[in-house]
């Protein structure tokens, strides 16, 4: 600062000392330091945020990536017409197929191999065999080569998820079984491959955990999010427009405003209570249906979208509205033609965050029956997709995370990876659009 500016009273050219712009004066230096500090806070904030993101993503990836590979055993099997008929005759049909497989493999491996040992290594692939032969009866009597997943423990042993010592204490695999498995691996009978089944498969029980896949619940989530998007975005934006632009400003609208921000603070499980009471018990919609899940999540997402949309609408300068009104546009036109496009980034941010939240939410699904052991087939069409029992990704992950078998831990994290990919795909349009709409005026 010059003296003149420090002493407003000073006058006359002689009283003015010209400070050089090239040397930065004390005061400015101080302020620049404050500036640098401030800026570094910003950088630090971003860095902290991103480093946590990296940490989280790293731990998700390191725990979840193994879910994308699986250990398989390659077997050539011939099932005769009689064996088929005999198997189909039983109550526990899949077990009969499994016995055929075990017998055949044990025989192939050698005299001294214990079939029970083989069974412990390969797990329970009976259903896959049954599905194959009921669909391809012409293959009966022919030799067919199957590539079947091994039991979850064998898989865990080869992936390092479980240890030899640990297994010795359990009843699942004996040290001899592990030796045999090692041998099978050396012989190339056991190999490892990309686990498509994890991506396409459906929920599976603890009897055959390797078969569990996220596919069906991805479809469930897809239908749910479709409902959420189709309902919450228009309703949220419409409600915001009404409240911000049209509603008379009075006590009543204040109450509405406070109410909506308050809805955001309602724990998500309470939305589950509401959904259970209203959509299922009152309106008679089916339990465990993605439609109901979508409706509940819509109610939960609305406050987020409304709050961000209102903030964005409020940020549009009044002169823009005045300009539109001034050429004879109606309020409605001024809002839809001018204000809304300018508020778009905020609306999209609300949508991105609201949908992210909805996609990952489990608690309300707990009450409407989407958590547990749900859904084993893909829906045939849109109506089925909305109304048939299904799970959703977070519910599936939550269920897996509480299962005993360690393979589900891996699958839960793998599921989280899929969920995040789903999230990014879902949001990519919004993110790109938002960049388009961003402008300064």
């Amino acid at each position: 600062m010059t003296d003149a500016t420090n002493n407003p009273g000073a006058s006359g050219p002689t009283a003015r000392k010209h400070t050089s712009l090239l040397t930065i004066d004390v005061n400015t230096r101080k302020r620049n330091r404050a500036e640098a500090r401030f800026r570094s806070y910003g950088i630090a904030a971003i860095a902290i945020g991103l480093s946590f993101l990296v940490m989280l993503v790293w731990s998700i990836l390191s725990s979840g990536l193994p879910a994308f590979t699986r250990t398989v055993v390659e077997i050539e099997l011939t099932v005769t017409q009689e064996e088929y008929a005999a198997a189909e005759d039983q109550l526990f049909k899949t077990r009969a197929y499994q016995d055929l497989l075990v017998g055949s493999l044990a025989a192939e491996l050698g005299e001294d191999v214990d079939p029970e040992s083989v069974e412990r290594i390969i797990g329970s692939p009976g259903a896959m065999l049954r599905n194959y032969y009921t669909a391809n009866e012409d293959q009966l009597g022919e030799a067919v080569t199957f590539k079947l997943p091994t039991s979850s423990r064998t898989d865990g042993y080869f992936k390092g998820r479980i240890t030899r010592e640990g297994q010795e204490r359990s009843t699942f695999l004996t040290p001899e079984d592990l030796d045999l498995a090692d041998e099978m691996k050396e012989n190339g009978i056991i190999t490892s491959e990309f686990n498509w089944q994890f991506l396409t498969g459906t929920e599976a029980s603890d009897d055959n955990p390797v078969a569990a896949g996220i596919g069906a619940s991805v479809v469930g989530s897809f239908y749910m999010m479709a409902v959420v998007l189709i309902l919450s975005l228009p309703i949220g934006v419409a409600a915001s427009i009404y409240l911000e632009e049209f509603a008379p400003k009075n006590r009543f609208t204040d109450i509405i405003e406070v109410n909506i921000s308050n809805l955001a603070a309602v724990p998500s499980i309470v939305f589950g209570i509401l959904g259970l009471a209203f959509f299922i018990q009152f309106a008679g919609l089916p339990r465990s249906a993605p439609l109901v899940g979508g409706l509940v999540l819509t109610l939960m997402t609305l406050p987020t979208i409304i709050i961000s949309t209102r903030a964005a609408l409020r940020a549009v300068p009044p002169s823009i509205r005045a300009a539109a009104l001034g050429v004879g546009a109606s309020k409605m036109q001024s809002v839809f033609h001018h204000v809304l496009p300018l508020a778009m980034p905020g609306i999209l941010t609300g949508t991105i965050i609201g949908l992210a939240q909805a996609l990952g939410e489990t608690a309300p699904l707990l009450l409407i029956g989407m958590v547990g052991f749900v859904a084993l087939k893909y829906p045939d069409g849109v109506a089925e997709g909305l109304l048939d029992s299904n799970s959703a990704m977070p519910a599936q992950i939550y269920t897996w995370a509480s299962r005993a078998d360690q393979i589900f831990y891996e699958k839960a994290w793998g599921g989280i990876i899929v969920l995040l990919v789903f999230l990014l795909t879902m949001n990519i349009v919004a993110i790109v659009l938002r960049r388009r709409f961003e402008r300064r005026w």
């Binding site: 400003k249 009044p318 002169s319 823009i320 509205r321 005045a322 300009a323 539109a324 009104l325 001034g326 050429v327 004879g328 546009a329 109606s330 309020k331 036109q333 033609h337 001018h338 300018l342 402008r439 005026w441």
Partner: protein, 267 residues
């Protein structure tokens, strides 16, 4: 005061139809009483100038005439304003229709953050003034020409309206307002950021508009008021002090305040 002579000769004294008639208008901004009991008759096919010191309520009163004050929460209006004999504050009046009829150029240029073309085409579009693109193009070109902006922007109609210079923005807003062909045009200091040549063009436009419409213009330039207007209203501290033929106001003001304002002028 020779500069007033020329306009004088043009002024016709015959009484024209009253287009806008304000009676007992009061405007409050919260506590502030910004317009105090103003009565005024604005004639058709006439240019009326509002003059007065800064902050005296010219813009406020102007905004009453097309109910733009509705958009200011704290503004409260009393009294009645008749346009073609109909009270515009009547419940049955649709402000939208009113504003389509009573166009406005705001004091601060406020182009839409859209292309120049879209800025001008917006009004005609929502009023269905063009059957097709070609017609719309024509309307836009005509409006921009009337706004004395065409030559400067004809090569960049797609550029953003907010990327123009201050004066260009102001002319864009004028073009935007005339594009909808309103019956009454309210212009709040339309030439404040314009150079003399552009000012002359706008004044020419105003003169041209007068043939069909009624124009109200707020201006700080006595000369401009004298040049373009037939009637002049002088506001002071929210009061309409004097309203008369422009010539009378400038040459023979009745009120002391008017006189001191006029003579205190410098330009």
């Amino acid at each position: 005061m020779d500069m007033y002579d020329a306009p004088h000769t043009e002024r016709d004294v015959e009484q024209k139809e009253v287009k806008i008639s304000a009676r007992g208008v009061q405007v409050y901004y919260g506590e502030t009483h910004a317009i105090k009991d103003v009565d005024v008759d604005i004639e058709d096919n006439t240019v009326t100038a509002f003059i007065g010191p800064s902050g005296c309520g010219k813009s406020t009163f102007l905004r009453c005439l097309n109910r733009m004050n509705d958009t200011i929460d704290i503004a409260r209006i009393e009294g009645e304003i008749l346009i073609d004999g109909e009270n515009i504050y009547d419940k049955r009046v649709d402000p939208v229709q009113l504003r389509a009829k009573v166009g406005m150029v705001f004091q601060k240029a406020n182009p839409f953050p859209k292309s120049i073309y879209d800025n001008v085409a917006y009004g005609p579009k929502i009023h269905g003034m063009a059957k097709n693109k070609a017609e719309l193009d024509e309307i836009v070109e005509k409006a921009l020409r009337r706004g004395a902006l065409w030559d400067e922007v004809k090569d960049r109609l797609d550029a953003s309206g907010t990327g123009l210079s201050g004066g260009q923005q102001q002319r864009l807003c004028i073009a935007r307002a005339v594009a909808t062909e309103p019956e009454v045009l309210l212009m709040d200091e339309p030439c404040s950021a314009l150079d003399p040549i552009a000012t002359a063009q706008v004044e020419e436009l105003i003169d041209e508009l007068k043939a069909n419409y009624s124009v109200v213009i707020v201006t700080h330039s006595m000369q401009q008021a004298a040049r373009v207007s037939q009637k002049t209203a002088f506001f002071h501290l929210g009061n309409l002090v004097e309203f008369d033929e422009t010539g009378t106001i400038f040459t023979n003001p009745r009120d002391k305040r008017t006189e001191s304002y006029i003579t205190g002028r410098i330009g």
